[in-house]
Amino acid sequence: MKRRFTSLIASFLIALTVAGVAPITMTFATTKADCTKGVYLLPGANDAFSSFPAWYNGLLVNDPTDASSCVVGSPQNFVSKSDPTGVSTFIWTIVLNVIQCLTQAAGYIAAIFIIYGGLQFIMNGGDSNTVAKGRVTILNAVIGLVIALVATTIIKFILGSLLK
């Protein structure tokens, strides 16, 4: 039961990732496209909290041949003072997008396992063993959710002073 749940979720997430590859070139009605706007994989969502970001968010630049569309830039588009080649920014932006996907996946997975634990709680058929199992399931789901939510804050708090 649990195994089937997990593989269902996994295939759903992978389908989203693959589907998000398609809109790499976005065409806008305006003459100069706004490439700083993020792309999110769930239809209709355009903010960071309701959907999965595309891996190329933050890497889009105006197409040099056609300013009305956006393409994934090269590292030289992201050169800054602390990163003279732009390679570091390029790589870690992709990883940060993956992290954002994973944080949101952690939220959805925790919600599903809280529901699953709740079902164990109410559909126990008088078996106190199942009630205890449901309690532990909910507890573990909440612990995982809390760690995922505070992970970014903790690391930023610890390493923020070292890494600017």
Binding site: S7, I14, V95, A110, G144, I147
Partner: protein, 137 residues
């Protein structure tokens, strides 16, 4: 369990390969010519013996490549730590009532914390040893 893991890994791998293959890699403009080899990311005209006779290590192309690598790695410490913490928390969430998997998730998170402490120790030691600091290229 084995089958599920294998299928998940294959699908994840396919997803990653797919998402990277879809980008036509933009041709990088050539910056410089290093002994007949065109390069895009380092400026090695300073390291050319016929043009640069200062003998400074900072003008060596290998030094510049080292700086790029250090830059990438220092940028990634916190990011990879967050990645590890979130991966551990997902394992913890999906453990349901299975103590073995909770233990596995706890081990992942402990190792992340050990890694952060080791990094802080290394950073402090290097900043103590090398005047001016190492991470300011």
């Amino acid at each position: 369990m084995k089958i599920k893991q294998t299928v998940t890994r294959v699908l994840l791998g396919l997803g990653f390969i797919g998402s990277f293959a879809a980008v036509a890699a933009p041709a990088l403009p050539t910056y410089a010519d290093c002994g007949g080899v065109p390069t895009s990311i380092i400026n090695c005209s300073a390291g050319d013996p016929s043009k640069d006779t200062s003998g400074k290590v900072e003008n060596n192309p290998i030094w510049q490549i080292l700086l790029i690598v250090i830059n990438i790695l220092t940028g990634g410490v916190g990011i990879v730590a967050v990645l590890g913490l979130i991966w551990g928390s997902i394992q913890w969430s999906t453990a349901a009532g299975n103590p073995a998997q909770v233990q596995k998730a706890r081990t992942i998170i402990t190792n992340v914390v050990i890694g952060i402490i080791a990094y802080i120790a290394m950073f402090s030691l290097l900043n103590f040893l090398i005047p001016g600091g190492v991470f300011n290229p």
